[in-house]
């Protein structure tokens, strides 16, 4: 009898050890050059915009704020456990992809449109789309323009090195009109030129146009035309060849959406965690299952993200609410929008 007991104990100990070996084997399976480098330097290097309200800007205290910044902080919280461990690198539209390709930054979260040629020819891996919008136009109210088609002969200021130049040219050709463009390196000069009247309007993706209007001397003098002439689905980019890293970046985004879907916010997350019975919520918060480990971080990762920056909706309201930009396409799928988290399974 005693012998059997001893054998059972030995066997189960062995099995447990093997399981343990296998499970540590899983964690070790997540091989990512970028992830290892970040953990080693204990800092995430995040490429962001040089300064555009809504997405990435420095507040009066010099601290970075914005939707894209929230993603940098969320990734740092998930990987390093501290949202402050981020170094921000401001990149112009012109150099952003070179900076990423050369390895100066770990991830580019800079209101960049996901396109076919960037995904293939430029050798970039797409992360997640965190902002669905299209190319919008802002014009002086006094011009009495109601539609982009009426802009024949007008001059529009914009930033060089973007998809916008091609969109305008294609739109003009399709509609048999000619919209003149004036290309600037940085938004500040483009805004100032528009303000001075050098051009009739300013164009960019919908979020940035709303941001541009908020920086004008009298925002009320400017009107954003309702038509969007292109799809600009903005999101993060990683380098190709490190798929596990881009997967993690993608799921940080889904975590912020999943939290909103489940009604978890920065304010109520501790309360919910303490009394969670719903298996979905428990899985999300890492109380059950090993989702975090599958991604190469620990199981608390989603909890830390929401605790640090809040869910997607909270961030949208915080950064785009003041710009009076309706959420539109960026509503959750269940509210008729395009933002959805994949299944937490």
């Amino acid at each position: 009898m005693k012998g059997i007991l001893a054998r059972v104990i030995t066997c189960s100990a062995l099995a447990a050890a093997m399981l343990g070996f296998v499970s540590t084997g899983w964690a070790a399976d997540v091989k990512s050059e970028t992830l290892d480098a970040i953990k080693k330097r204990d800092q995430l290097i995040c490429g962001v915009d040089t300064g555009i309200p809504g997405f990435a800007f420095q507040d009066s205290a010099g601290k970075w704020q914005g939707l894209d910044i929230a993603y940098c902080r969320a990734i740092a919280a998930a990987v390093l456990g501290d949202p402050e461990k981020v170094k921000y690198v401001g990149t112009t539209a012109k150099v952003r992809f070179s900076v990423l390709q050369s390895g100066e930054i770990d991830v580019l979260i800079r209101d960049s449109t996901h396109t076919l040629s960037r995904n293939t020819d430029l050798g970039l891996a797409t992360g997640a789309i965190n902002f669905f919008t299209g190319q919008a136009f802002m014009v002086k109210k006094s011009l009495n323009v109601a539609h982009v088609k009426e802009l024949d002969g007008a001059t529009i200021c914009l930033i060089t090195g973007t998809t916008l130049e091609l969109n305008i040219a294609d739109y003009g050709r399709a509609n048999n009109i000619k919209i003149n463009t004036l290309l600037f390196d940085k938004p500040e000069e483009a805004f100032a030129a528009a303000e001075a009247g050098r051009c009739d309007g300013y164009t960019d993706d919908g979020g940035s146009v709303a941001a541009a209007r908020s920086t004008m001397k009298t925002p009320g003098d400017w009107v954003i035309l309702p038509e969007l002439i292109s799809r600009e689905f903005l999101g993060s980019y990683c380098r190709q060849g490190d798929e596990r890293w881009s997967i993690l970046v993608k799921w940080v985004h889904y975590a912020m959406l999943e939290a909103e879907t489940l009604g978890i916010t920065q304010a109520n997350i501790d309360e919910i965690k303490a009394s969670a019975t719903n298996p979905e919520v428990r899985g999300f918060l890492g109380l059950e299952n090993d989702y975090g480990k599958f991604l190469g971080v620990d199981n608390d990762w989603a909890y830390r993200i929401i605790k640090a920056v809040g869910n997607y909706g909270e961030n949208y309201d915080k950064y785009f609410g003041p710009l009076e930009l309706p959420r539109g396409w960026n509503k959750l799928y269940k509210d008729g929008g395009l933002q959805y988290p994949l299944s937490w399974r």
Binding site: A93, K94, F97, S98, Q101, S117, R118, D121, L122, G123, L143, L151, D152, G153, A154, T155, C157, T160, G161, T162, E165, L166, I168, A169, D170, G172, R173, N180, T181, L182, L183, F184, D185, K186, E189, A190, A192, A193, A196, G197, R198, D200, R239, Q240, G241
Partner: protein, 371 residues
Amino acid sequence: MVRRPSPRAYVAQWVFLAGLVVVGGLLIVNLGANLARRNMHFGFGFLTNKAGFDIPFHLLEWTTFDIYAKALLVSLLNTLLVSAMSIVSATLLGLLVGIMRLSVNWLVRNLALAFIEFVRNTPQLVQIIFWYFAVLQTLPPPRQSIVLPGGFLLNIRGLYVPDVVMQAHAALLPWLAGLLLVATPFAWRLKIRERRLGALALILPVIALLLVNLGIAQVTVPALKGFNIAGGVQVPPELVALWAGLTIYATAFIAEIVRSSIEAVPKGQHEAARSLGLRPARVLFLIILPQALRIMVPQLTSQYLNLIKSSTLGTAIAYPEIFQIFAGTVMNQSGKEVEIIIIVMAVFLTINLLFSAFMNWYNQRVALVER
């Protein structure tokens, strides 16, 4: 007796050269490997791809159907245009300010000094942006254009000049007229039977004018239409601001070169000329400046080369020069960073080498002939 280098020196030189070749080769191999690792391919085939974007200011015909190679040419011409304009104006202004620096009048002398010190000691990019917004702030919107005599219009969108459209069969006439204009000063100095042609040469520009007049089909005068002025040729404020920015900055340096070169001419030359009874202006232009010129030329050359390179600052104020269009828009759309930077560097190297070759030739011409 000419001393021969020792065999050891020969070996050292060859080893050094071989080392350079190896390092260069390694760099190229490394570049290729890194590009391949990032799934990028080296090649210049992209130059024949369709551009698809608009270039706001162009000297050649430009449509969105044109290829990247043409975008390079169009933006290169814009670079050359603003560089040439700035070199001419900076030279004239620099000469003026440099002479003012040596004036006996206290106010003139110190005004020039203040100008030079102010311009030399502030960043050029800041100056260019300042000029751009200074220009923009002072000009009226299109609907309140300033009407200038001769059908010229001036507003915030630029200076609009009446456009002359030539008849189809007369397309070559303006070129012929231009040729005649260029030939005029040579004809002036031409000698026939030991006599200068002189003022008779002025008949050439008159013929040119008549020729052009004959070929004109119509003149389009700029007028307000919709948002903008239609018809006529537009000189954009970006060009004017960049021109002003480059000119003023180079003027300050050229003025100092002029002053130092004039001061380097031996004092005795000035005194001798004065004692012959020449008036101050004639002393300056006949005696001092020709001698100062040969001291100036080498320094001026590097100043001009700097100016050509600085024209890339136009990218900050939306002037479509080579750096903005080719190393900006084209680079972003094709993703060919390495190739494009190589091309842009090669272009600037070619321009500057040609220019400095010309200046060296000129320098030899004006240099003191020693026997």
